[in-house]
Symmetry: C2
Subunit: 662 residues, 2 copies
Amino acid sequence: MSQRRQIHLSCQQPTYVVSAVGAELILEIYECMPSDADSFDIHGSPEVHISIAYDGEIVSQSTGKEKWSLHKGVEVLVSMQISSKNIGDHMVKVSYYRGEEDSALDSAIVYLTSVVVSLDIDANRDGELNRQRVDKASWTWGPEGQGAVLLVNCDRDNASSSAMDGADRIVSGEEDLKDMSRMVLSIQSPTALFSNHKLLLHVSLSDADKLRLFYKFVAVSGSKFKHVLGEEKLYYEVEPASGDETHTFYVEGLKFPSANFSGLVYIGITLLDCSLEGVPGSPLFTDKVVFRVAPWIMTPNILDPVEVFVCRISINPTFLQQLTDLVTNARCRLTICEDIDNRGDRWIQDEMEFGYIEAPHKHFPVVLDSPAQRGLTGFPFKKLLGPDFGYATTHPELNLPVSSLDSFGNLEVSPPVTVNGKEYPLGRIIIGSSFPMLAGRRMIKNVTDFLYAQQVQAPIELFSDWLYVGHVDEFLTFVPAPGKKGFRLLLSSPTSCYQLFQEKQQQGYGDVSIFQGLNVIHRTISEILADDDMKKENIYTQRCIDWNRAILKEQLGLTEKDIIDIPALFTLDKQKYANALFPSLVNMIVLGKNLGIPKPYGPIINGRCCLEEKVSSLLEPLDLRCTFLDDFYSYHEFQGEVHCGTNVLRKPSSYKWWHMIP
Amino acid sequence: MSQRRQIHLSCQQPTYVVSAVGAELILEIYECMPSDADSFDIHGSPEVHISIAYDGEIVSQSTGKEKWSLHKGVEVLVSMQISSKNIGDHMVKVSYYRGEEDSALDSAIVYLTSVVVSLDIDANRDGELNRQRVDKASWTWGPEGQGAVLLVNCDRDNASSSAMDGADRIVSGEEDLKDMSRMVLSIQSPTALFSNHKLLLHVSLSDADKLRLFYKFVAVSGSKFKHVLGEEKLYYEVEPASGDETHTFYVEGLKFPSANFSGLVYIGITLLDCSLEGVPGSPLFTDKVVFRVAPWIMTPNILDPVEVFVCRISINPTFLQQLTDLVTNARCRLTICEDIDNRGDRWIQDEMEFGYIEAPHKHFPVVLDSPAQRGLTGFPFKKLLGPDFGYATTHPELNLPVSSLDSFGNLEVSPPVTVNGKEYPLGRIIIGSSFPMLAGRRMIKNVTDFLYAQQVQAPIELFSDWLYVGHVDEFLTFVPAPGKKGFRLLLSSPTSCYQLFQEKQQQGYGDVSIFQGLNVIHRTISEILADDDMKKENIYTQRCIDWNRAILKEQLGLTEKDIIDIPALFTLDKQKYANALFPSLVNMIVLGKNLGIPKPYGPIINGRCCLEEKVSSLLEPLDLRCTFLDDFYSYHEFQGEVHCGTNVLRKPSSYKWWHMIP
């Protein structure tokens, strides 16, 4: 509470005041002034700082020697810079005078007790508590910003627990504690003060479900922790012992920022005067601190991979072997989700999105569970949640009316970009939606609200509802690349495929067919080029992609040089939704410079697939290594590809999210 | 859609493109270039504007005579400034060259059709439609800001309707129309275009419940209106006739800004290319406009009164007569709410709050119905809702768990203030709440969320839960005053009352009692001063008021000179809640310079009540006229006073809310 407190004076008896060190008090010099007084002087004990103010602005320090005119407008401000040893050991005296008379008409005495009651947190974000006098109740973004950070305690350090650490009301151990933010209450006060004053820690009703505070105390068996604030506990009475002491608390976040929650939570401590028997205690002053709950942050393709996830199903042994080789080359871990955990669901990209949360003192990965309820639905919670591996969901209630667009193949993130001078150092989230007028499928509000509320990766909504599955990963991806931007956007391009096939036809390869070696209908280049329906359908799908290309260029600040067109062809089904004709090359897994690209089964010319040759010729100059993985029977025929069937845990960005300005 | 659309070229056959006048198209010059070409030139028909760009920045206008190097990075942008008379009547031709050869290797031709499809609204807020090319899709605050405004159509112009105009899907007449915002669609296009193109107006799913769009068309009987967009209608196909025409629409708002609704709503129009049979139409371009739904705005005491409302109950004839005289002097209307409408509920201040909504083309008062469900509960809807008198509620669902703090005696607004340089030209809303740690009564979230969401009168929360009734109007009010600020804050002051009584005791009037002439226990000044319990209780209540004083000074930028202390005494009940001992002087009705103040029944000294004398001496120098209204038996004994028993409709502020920066 930075407000100046008003102190009523009396000439009849001394006034006793308790105040915080550094806080300004306004002495109400007019209330008790003798009616014939026209000036006053004021002096105090050495520790008392006395200022004279007009209109709320300090104009002078009082030396105790001047007389001041008693006209409305002069205010006297008093503050103390050190804490009291004894009750009332500081003093000020206001004396009232008439005209030039030397002797005072009357005077009012105030005995002051100054105390330190201060909450200390890591407001400067260096991982340590700060005792500097910063405004701990304000939180600002940017490299010069300040304000402490809270993690949602969504990992499971307690092996015996069945849920996240934040779901229980205990500190399960040292590891659990490390996920929390420390807060220390410092008290310097005469011990006697607390015989008729109380100290209350408090949270507002609206913040109480967003944090939990543990009090650390010493028991015979060592340090213990007691849940004292948060949830139904709105206040906690601190019991000072000596009056010169500190109390340590640990705070855990319980909720991520959301549509109804900015992420900021406040904790206050108030000194209550309970010296008057029979009436309620009245607040003397409050110290307040703010935390921002760390947002959930996604990791773009250009960040180093740590671990690749894939499902084992009956028909993908070849694919698994090829992927294993790729992952080995890329030097990261491979985790195969077995049948018992995937229950026949191969689409591990759709089930979850990896991200992380970070505070100055700690960071760990957090998997966001998609609202999709398929075979893999229990996997993130059962198999990933663990020590320093968090779990988050936007849909505590089950059985939401979800569509295919709610699967997380439809949730991607761009590399860092700068758009018209505005920086997105953690990139921008990309989700697919329906074009407004089509009133079609779109992500449910639970998910989009959650994504927008994280603030640090401002989402872009694309038009993906033209596709049968409807995921953005069906027509775009990002790959690392040399240069200032550090990446290229790869976009599916029917036009580019037609050009390639026309070239090949002109070179005399019109009779070469796609899908050689596969037990599906083979079509020659010339047949494809002569197919008017297919031509029309691909003019349409190219227009849909172009619409998104324009949005991406504008919203990511891209030029044509940042975009690479990757050959693709689509066919429309009866409902006029698009599906990839041959495996969609952009639906790849990106592991550093190693790309695992769906094997397209294009026309074999001079012993090499011309689609593979084309995409390699586009990507290899960027120092990328193209490996083509055969996903035809195992994924492609089920409307998905490599990217849909894998998931990658990546290292967090080295950029601290609190340094950005959303 | 301000994105640049990409146009694919072909050397085999001409490309046909439809574009908006003024929109930039990117010609994809590389896709069809002969492999041995190294430069190109481009020229077009006179109406076509051709630019050369590098990295998305325009660097040169093309005259058609230069040759440009074909290296990745050069982009060609094309736009047209006038609309086409016929399909494809504009043209550009790109020719490709090798080395110094004069004759082109090949060339690609594009036939362009340019059309105007534009939504016009009152984006510059002058009450008229604007055809200027402003960014109609962005809304900015401030005197230099731009963006159109929508009113919630919450009055009832249709006498035969039982609800607000926005509750039905019709335009009931000219008056109903005046409450809506006009939007005109301009089309300039070759008529033939619409044989295979469609125009769709659309709103997003999330905006669809916040507005309703009516289409004006001419029928035999005159103009008619058809509901075409909003609610379940997400899009509407406009059917152009000649191709050179305008279509008029009227938009009404359906919802006030709220916790989940910023107030901004968007309407788009998209030209769909349906020229390819058998595939869905694809979007060519979109024009988008934004409206902000006007906030509900409260009227501070310093605005001129228009009409006073009061209830007739069996025991208030004297009060009614005194109030009638006051209202007559203040030259405003008086409306007495009879028994049949008030059903024994006299607290008309608590039932509702008057405010208004304003757009550049229209404004009208809007009553906000409180969640309180007492005798008057039906009054605002049944008796006030009418032509150009709107009705709003924050609680469409009934039977919310409300407390006394949800009554609107606990909802006030300050006059305009400036706080540390930040201007609040419409004042700040003031609501009473519990002190955080007390976990006590507070306004329900429905109401506070609504108040915060209006944005233009940023609320301040005070601590009023120390009072039995718990309303801010029990201890504060604002009165007009000369000077730059234009007002004073009046605060109840037990200290000031004790001083006054001590003075009177010293002057020999200790034996004079309060409540003379009333059939209640009389207490003398000396008895009151000697009552230690009362003294203690009033130290406590003074501290509660001082706590609020500090908040008010900080949040309204006030100095002591802006505050007047008004004598008051409180007693605590068994639950330690405070009640006014004698009628609370600040609980007054303010009608311009005429104040209707509760008659305090203080000690009569020299023939005059010393409390009346004191308050008159404080307020009359401000050119205010004090009239004391006897509310003792009719209101005071039921824990309320004049302000609680009245309500005032005031003129709206002359300040336009969109000129402020929240």
